[in-house]
């Protein structure tokens, strides 16, 4: 595990001194102090499940899914939430996702579930609702599970691209979703890179107009 040293802005969490084991807890804006126990300067992230391999394995499995899709969640949140609140709302998403994972239900479409949870959490933020309190039971409800599992990524992307015509959709898909360059897309579609840029520009304008 990576060592963190005194003075590092390590983010919210707890950190165990590598010399004496003392745990210090930081808020987001705090930097790591010298260890209050021994004066040491090297720390590792502390875990609630220290010493329990089963729990640690479960956390790492959930953590892997979380990390692989973090950009998805943060971008969805950031579209509607001010910068100072993003980390808190993101934290709510991870909390809900981990609770769902630990419920024992199979998660067949984690991306769709995360997308839905991110939208719920940002809605909770604007409604000033305590995010996770009323929903823990909801996520454990079988009927809700079925609804959540029906959400697929392609549907979410299709919604996003719905306002576009067929050619615009093809271009945007190749250019943005597939990440190809304008020249590559132009070659595939027998046109020029400049024309692809124009199509993308118009498509983005249409998508922007279609946003509620």
């Amino acid at each position: 595990m990576e060592s963190l040293t005194t003075g590092t802005l390590a983010g919210t969490g707890s950190f165990r001194c590598e010399e004496c084991g003392y745990v210090v807890t930081l808020a987001a804006a705090d930097s790591l102090p010298d260890c209050p126990g021994c004066g040491g300067s090297r720390f590792a992230q502390a875990s609630l499940s220290d010493g329990d391999p089963g729990r640690e394995t479960a956390r790492r499995c959930v953590g892997l899914v979380v990390l692989r899709h973090r950009d998805l969640v943060r971008s969805v949140i950031a579209a509607k939430v001010p910068p100072g609140a993003i980390d808190d709302v993101e934290s709510d998403v991870w909390l809900r996702f981990s609770r769902k994972a630990y419920s024992g239900d199979e998660i067949t479409n984690p991306v769709g579930l995360l997308l839905r949870m991110a939208m719920f959490c940002r809605a909770d933020f604007h409604a000033n609702r305590p995010a996770a309190e009323p929903t823990l039971g909801d996520w454990d409800d079988a009927s809700d599970d079925a609804a959540l599992d029906d959400i697929v990524v392609t549907a979410a992307v299709a919604d996003l691209l719905a306002p576009l015509g067929d050619r615009q959709r093809d271009v945007v898909w190749q250019r943005i979703i597939e990440g190809r360059s304008s020249a590559e897309v132009a070659a595939m579609m027998n046109t020029t890179a400049g024309n692809i840029d124009v199509i993308v520009h118009r498509a983005l304008s249409r998508m922007r107009e279609a946003q509620p």
């Binding site: 992230q45 790492r60 943060r74 309190e133 990524v153």
Partner: protein, 197 residues
């Protein structure tokens, strides 16, 4: 290309391609009135291109308390105190400070004990107490919020009732109790005035 959303999306792709970890949220905010469109593009791209994850990143994320298995407050609060080397006295003192009820340590301490022992429902606690506990224990508020609905078997109460009644049956203790400050009704409300209260 003049479109701001596309420029920032290119920046996002370039950073990912070069092995960096762009902050998707920061880029979305940078897009201003095009934030929705950029968010949609990044979300769509990220959904179909999951990020690579290193062992170090996994170690860090796995240590986040919100990824912990859910536990009811009587298990969670002592575990969080132990993790942060926070004694109950320290927790109580900092709670009193955060809640603006200095001098009510004994009363707050009793409630903290009852919460940790499962003698009162966390659902009765006011949101201000949840926020204060989260701040003192260094965890997201939502972790405590989501856990306070988890049921815990109440322990047998007869012994505790006996102990409490015995305390006030003792004349000497009664006189000592009379010297203690009166219970602050604000503290009672903070710890029992919530949904179930």
């Amino acid at each position: 290309m003049s479109d701001r959303a596309l420029e920032l999306f290119e920046q996002y792709l370039d950073q990912r391609a070069s092995g960096q970890q762009p902050d998707a949220a920061a880029l979305v905010h940078e897009a201003g009135d095009q934030a929705d469109v950029l968010a949609g593009m990044i979300a769509a791209y990220a959904a179909t291109h999951p990020a690579d994850v290193t062992e170090d990143q996994l170690d860090l994320i796995a240590a986040r308390p919100e990824l912990e298995l859910p536990r009811p407050w009587p298990e969670l609060l002592p575990a969080l105190r132990e993790r942060t080397h926070t004694t109950r006295a320290t927790l109580v003192s900092r709670l009193c400070e955060a809640l603006g009820v200095p001098g009510s340590e004994r009363q707050v301490g009793d409630y903290v004990h009852e919460l940790e022992a499962g003698l009162i429902s966390p659902a009765r606690v006011r949101p201000a107490v949840v926020s204060a506990l989260a701040a003192v224990l260094g965890v997201p508020r939502s972790l405590l919020e989501s856990s306070r609905g988890l049921a815990v078997e109440p322990p047998p109460s007869s012994g505790l009732n006996f102990a409490r009644s015995a305390r006030y049956a003792d004349d000497a203790l009664m006189s000592l109790g009379a010297l203690e400050p009166d219970a602050d009704p604000r503290v009672d409300d903070l710890f029992t005035g919530g949904d179930d209260g």
